[in-house]
Assembly symmetry: C2
Homo-oligomer: 239 residues x 2
């Protein structure tokens, strides 16, 4: 754990002799450090906005190590999702399980909304994983994500579960209403997660996504109201 400021080799001359900590060997630790650096860089600049060199520089490892451990730049990118996605999926599933037990309709919908929003909003305000939140937000608006298939692979299953829960909570709604409701929820969440200060700027500092509690309160209220009270004018035509 306490391996913070060793491996300062490039910054000093060629005094290979003194090596207080002789270039520690620990593949898992190295992988983790690269992943951490990659998360930060990808979040800040996007997949195409960073070079593996920048990531290697931040992780303080030679470039070649990235290809050794992750195969390619995209391999590294996918590894981030493999690491983080289960975390929030599990939290949502757990939240849905709780909602399932709630008998009262309004309360049930609110719990479903919370099950979806809260894990991500919490992640966004957690320093360690806030970067992943921004990567995720970017990924959904990136056409290349289709090629990468990373959203489809990791996030589609939980999406179906959420919509099933919504449908059971509100059986009177059409499939279209359920779907658009879910998409709206995602949109609000993703937009908030990706925010880089515009919300705070526009509100004169009154609204701050960093304030996890207040943000969750507002967004949950908004989406609960949206799901419970929205009816489309003409749900007639189907095909």
């Amino acid at each position: 754990m306490a391996t913070g400021m060793s491996r300062s080799k490039k910054s000093q001359q060629d005094q290979k002799i003194i090596t207080v900590e002789p270039t520690q060997r620990n593949a898992a630790h190295t992988r983790a450090r690269i992943l951490g650096a990659a998360e930060t860089e990808f979040a800040d600049h996007g997949f195409d906005g960073v070079s593996v060199r920048q990531i290697a520089l931040r992780a303080d490892v030679p470039v070649a190590l990235i290809n050794y451990h992750f195969g390619s730049k995209e391999g590294l990118y996918r590894a981030i999702f493999e690491m983080r996605a289960p975390m929030i999926v599990d939290q949502r599933v757990a939240g849905l399980r709780l909602a399932e037990m709630e008998p009262e309709r309004e309360r049930k919908v609110e719990m479903i909304v919370k099950a979806v929003l809260v894990p991500n909003l919490h992640m966004r305000s957690t320093e360690k994983s806030s970067n992943y939140a921004r990567i995720l937000a970017r990924e959904v608006s990136d056409p290349k994500s289709l090629e990468r298939k990373v959203i489809e692979e990791y996030l589609d299953p939980i999406a179906y579960k959420v919509m099933d829960a919504l449908q059971r909570a509100m059986p009177d709604r059409s499939i279209e209403e359920i779907n658009w409701g879910y998409q709206a929820m995602l949109g609000v969440m993703v937009y908030t997660m990706a925010d880089m200060g515009r919300i705070s700027r526009l509100s004169g500092g009154r609204c701050d996504p960093e304030d996890e509690i207040a943000t969750a309160n507002h967004l949950v209220a908004i989406m609960k109201a949206a799901l419970l009270h929205a009816r489309v004018p003409t749900p007639i035509q189907d095909e």
Copy 2:
């Protein structure tokens, strides 16, 4: 206008003599063609995902022309916003003006929602400018947009106008509620505009952002309900 398939110089041998249309000169036309190509490419791959050469190739002009006309890659990018932004801002302003005249509260909120959503949703389904919709969606989730200041410059003013209108329509709401409501509206809109098929995929084809009318009906209903019925549990603490 009918300058489609001339300038085929590279694809053929060095028969400079025949030049049916001897390399037409028209700065405005050239600029427009570069802008069009850039819009498509930026929408598909993002600012960092495209090279100026790809854009030049699509526009079928030499690379150097891009720098000549737009100064730099970023200059070209900004030129897209300078061309498109006024278009949708004007539409929103007009919509707000109509809403202002409506006396009834619920109807007024609905008209404000429509004033915000409809211009963009329409743009998204218009082939010519659907690319700009995707660029816009990407820009709001790109941290570099802060450097570029393009959102702030072109879109913040209209945001304030919308929030003012909302506040006047619902004077009982707190500033936080108005702000989060507006942000939610934007989030839903942007997410839908940026969609690359996930909505259709998840809904089994039942929801399609290309279907402008149905999409607008659902999203307007959702945001109208959200704005009219959402109340935060604890709007007590302020500072």
